[in-house]
Symmetry: C2
Subunit: 198 residues, 2 copies
């Protein structure tokens, strides 16, 4: 979870509880349609009490998106993403992306559904594009290295990989029979080796 | 396009033009937020004139979803989906799905974003689930036949395949350098044979 900017408000609630409730509501009703009053009601506190935890609805959105993006960006800062064969680095980054997606599911869901209506959203989309470009560069490197096929355009390859991985937010349920590690194994297997037996 | 129920309204407009404008607006603003007045303004006709083409906003939604679902369901009615080796039938159906998705892009986009808020939406989701179940049965058959790997749970396999294919609506632009046929080749190649060279 993001580091709370300050510990304030009533005991029993902190910025993180408010954030968790907010993200669920943003995903369910949309950011625009969610009011601070709705969040207060959901938490069972007064509308004025909620402002003890966070200055504005925009700050809740910013903190939530930062939690998703911070997790993704940390993968690329790991040394395993930066050195070695490009296809091993790509696999490391894709496994990391699936781990962040499953651990921070509602936060990544919110990120993936952004439309860029506000400045906070546009900044988050800019960070997401930077992350996406770094994966695209890894795909390119693996292609030049000769470890992944070159009969699919690298942009298409990158989009299909992201499509496969990002769609996980639509159906994955943490705590169910499919663990996040097995899911990552499955995705890596399908994407790199294909479903056909040989 | 769906068969118009009747040819009515002013010359220069027909139900199909109204439907095309409606689907674009539903995708952009959401079904709830789109009014018949907005559609009339977009078409440059009066609000009362729009009712010459279609009885209600709900009918526009129903016609649009039927155009997407009818295209998908027709694939399964083709004899190539019904006989032969299961993995060839699966490939035929997936190629057909990609063709419908790219040809009827805004209609399938609308279908994929449904939340089931109205009776029309719930009926469409029911038809979509029936379609999805038939693909899942083909995946199962290909697995039992021994042509696709059995170390991934068949439900996960089906979800990853749909995730890969459905995500195409988020980025594919008809008329660009990537043709729908090449895209289908690329998807089939990645999903069945994987990105790794061997």
């Amino acid at each position: 979870m993001p580091t709370p900017t300050a510990r304030r408000g009533r005991p029993g609630y902190d910025q993180q509880s408010v954030l968790a409730v907010a993200v669920t509501a943003f995903n369910r009703y949309g950011y625009e349609a969610t009011s601070m009053g709705m969040l207060a009601e959901e938490l069972g506190i007064s509308k004025s009490a909620i402002y003890h935890h966070v200055p504005s609805k925009g700050d809740l959105l910013r903190l939530a998106l930062d939690h998703a993006l911070g997790g993704l960006e940390a993968i690329l800062e790991d040394s395993r993403a930066g050195s070695g064969a490009a296809d091993a680095r790509l696999e490391f980054v894709l496994r990391g992306t699936i781990a962040v997606l499953t651990e921070r599911l509602p936060f990544v869901t919110l990120l993936l559904r952004l439309r860029g209506n506000t400045e906070v959203e546009r900044e988050a989309l800019q960070r997401r594009r930077t992350f996406d470009r770094q994966i695209a560069a890894l795909v390119d490197a693996a292609r030049h290295e000769g470890s992944i096929r070159d009969d699919i355009d690298p942009r298409t390859t990158t989009r299909l990989i992201f499509g496969t991985i990002n769609s996980i937010v639509e159906w994955y349920r943490p705590g169910g029979p499919l663990t996040a590690d097995k899911l990552a194994d499955d995705v890596i297997l399908m994407v790199f080796d294909g479903l056909h037996l040989r």
